[in-house]
Amino acid sequence: MVIAKRVPALIRSFRYQSFFIFLVTLSAGFTERQGDLYFVALLILVLKVFIIPVLLNLTAKRINVDEGLGLFVNSQLSLIVALILSYCSWVFSRSLGFGLYHKLLGQTVAFSVLFIGAFLMISRMKAFSQVAGLLVMENGIFLFALSVSGGMPFFVEIAIFLDVFVSVIIMGLFVYRINKLFTHIDVTKLSRLKG
């Protein structure tokens, strides 16, 4: 994901990531024998693997700007940063010092997804990558919730999914508006408001 230079590649890798989270949730459902988790997994499959990427692709097509993400940090360096962030999240989750050893691995993965999402948001120029970064961070949070406490209460989970879905639609609308008003979606050039 961090080596993606263009919008479609970023969306595709988000789709793969969501698919893996779907598999993890499904397997957690098998081991913990909870009906809720199956439903949540299904929701992930529908929303995050199909609907949200399709929506993002539609927005990308409609605004029809050049597809580069505008990297501040080139893709090789980004990969190294991602590795460092993963190591940091290992150290971080170990020093948090709660949960059993087998949970530690899940926490590490979750934190590294979270950190990489944040890194994506700040190291790319285009508004699109911020939306994608936010979604990646949300994936990380979901993984974390799954690994430490087997997910949140059921209807909270549903509400959060709907919320993410709505926020993607709204951010898509704003990307569209920015493009219409400024004729670009380069957030580094949004600097009218200061002081």
Partner: protein, 485 residues
């Protein structure tokens, strides 16, 4: 039962503004609706404050004095905003900035925004509270970008991205809280009514880490420095009635969330940890905002930075942690909402008349808009904490608490920055209100509904300034009950 009335009316009004034809009728219907909401809010506050216990409906809605107090604040501001909106939207339509369709959209979004804010203090489940706060961001982003100019869309984009990222950290904190809960061998639940009772047996380390995430996350939304960067942009670009809502109550709903988690942390970890963090963020907010207020050129940004200052004062009040300080901070939440809405209404009228935000180009407001000018002049003194206005009472309570608590440094810093900000406000507003009219300006009349909104807020500010002093013993008792200090 009143809570269902409070939640239903904004939804009905939203549906009404979607269906109905003329925006004037919608505006008047809004006023009547929010008048009813205000009435039931007062009854609710009276009931819960007297009983001193929380009550829950179906396990989903939970109300105690704290949530009733915040619902009351939201209903007061929503009522005055609905009064002010009639005149403001009329002016905008006459000036060609809005079409009839957009005016209807405004009322629709306004009602949904109010609904989502009423929802935050009413829900029992802390996860649902997160969802409700995120909904307030998403709905108000449209209102911030309402004029669809380059600046407003930029402000809305910053607002939605910064607040969404901030609030994701709050979600992480919420999950950590529920994790602390499940590690202690209790059933998986995020219900406040379950959590508050068992706070003392939860794992201390997890609570500490979780509260930092909560404070950073909801603090972003509450406008605490240094996570405040979205706030001046959003407040300055939104339509004036929406700025009043954003600054008066939206920030306070996130403060409410911080308080809810804070109460668990106070019980579980102890007051000192909570207090030190709140004091730290409060002081940073004061320092940063006072600097920006001194050198500010834009009228609405000035008021936005003043909101950061007041959020700082409130968090210092909670950080001190004595009943007196907490009581002062709670009252300051209400008082700041009243005074700041008054100021934003005034700023809206000025911007409408002069077509500018730049304070150097605005002169002679008292001559151009006599009523607004006088109200603004009184509002400045109220906002800076002059007696007999109610902000004086809450600020002096916090300062007294700081002295009696022995935190002389905090009290000294608070007084220093308050006086710096007072000087800056008098300088900026003195230049703007007095002086000669610019060429080509003529004194103009103001709509009746706008005047009513001003008077409503102003009477409240004056009356509370007297009533609060007389009732201070009762208020202290309620605060003590609430935080169990």
């Amino acid at each position: 039962m009143q809570i269902f009335v409070i939640l239903a009316i904004p939804l009905l009004l939203a549906a009404g503004s979607f269906l109905s034809g003329r925006q004037k009728i919608i505006g008047i219907a809004n006023c009547i609706g929010y008048g009813l909401v205000l009435f039931s809010g007062i009854i609710l506050l009276k009931d819960t404050a007297l009983s001193g216990r929380g009550c829950s409906f179906l396990g989903f809605i939970y109300l105690d004095a704290l949530s009733a107090f915040f619902i009351f604040i939201i209903s007061v501001i929503a009522f005055s905003v609905s009064l002010y909106s009639i005149g403001y939207i009329d002016k905008d339509m006459a000036g060609g900035r809005l079409s009839g369709k957009k005016a209807k959209l405004y009322y629709l979004l306004f009602n949904l925004f109010c609904f989502s804010m009423f929802f935050v203090p009413a829900v029992n489940n802390l996860g649902m509270m997160w969802v409700a706060i995120e909904m307030t961001t998403l709905i108000s982003a449209f209102l911030v970008g309402f004029y669809n100019t380059k600046e407003s869309v930029e402000a809305a984009w910053k607002y939605i991205i910064i607040c969404s990222v901030g609030i994701i950290f709050a979600l992480l904190g919420t999950i950590l809280f529920s994790c602390a809960f499940s590690i202690s061998g209790l059933s998986r639940s995020l219900n406040w009514s379950d959590m508050a009772g068992v706070a003392h047996i939860l794992d201390k380390n997890i609570l500490k880490v979780a509260f930092i995430f909560i404070l950073v996350g909801y603090g972003t939304k509450a406008g605490m420095a240094p996570m405040h960067t979205w706030l001046p942009d959003a407040h300055s670009q939104a339509p004036a009635p929406i700025s009043a809502l954003l600054s008066g109550v939206l920030l306070k709903t996130s403060l409410y969330a911080i308080l809810r988690f804070g109460i668990i942390v106070i019980k579980g970890v102890g007051l000192a940890y909570f207090g030190h963090l709140m004091l730290l963020f409060g002081l940073i907010s004061l320092v940063i905002s006072s600097g920006f207020i001194l050198v500010q050129k834009d009228l609405k940004r000035l008021l936005a930075y003043s909101s950061i200052e007041h959020v700082g004062i409130i968090s210092i009040g909670f950080g001190l942690g004595t009943p007196l300080a907490a009581c002062g901070a709670l009252l300051h939440v209400l008082n700041h909402a009243l005074a700041k809405s008054l100021m934003f209404f005034g700023a809206g009228n000025i911007v409408n008349a002069y077509k500018k935000h730049n304070m150097n180009a605005i002169r002679g407001v008292i001559r151009a808009l006599p009523f607004t000018g006088i109200m603004l002049l009184l509002g400045v003194f109220a906002l800076c904490g002059f007696p007999p206005f109610c902000l004086f009472v809450s600020e002096i309570l916090i300062i007294i608490a700081a002295f009696t608590n022995g935190s002389y440094l905090i009290a000294a810093l608070l007084l220093l920055f308050l006086s710096v900000i007072f000087g800056a406000f008098i300088y900026h507003f003195g230049k703007m209100l007095f002086g000669n009219l610019p060429k080509g300006m003529t004194p103009s009349g103001e709509p009746l509904s706008g005047k009513l909104a001003f008077l409503f807020l102003f009477v409240l500010i004056c009356a509370l300034g007297i009533v609060l002093v007389l009732k201070i013993e009762d208020l202290l008792w309620i605060t003590r009950n609430l935080f169990q200090l």
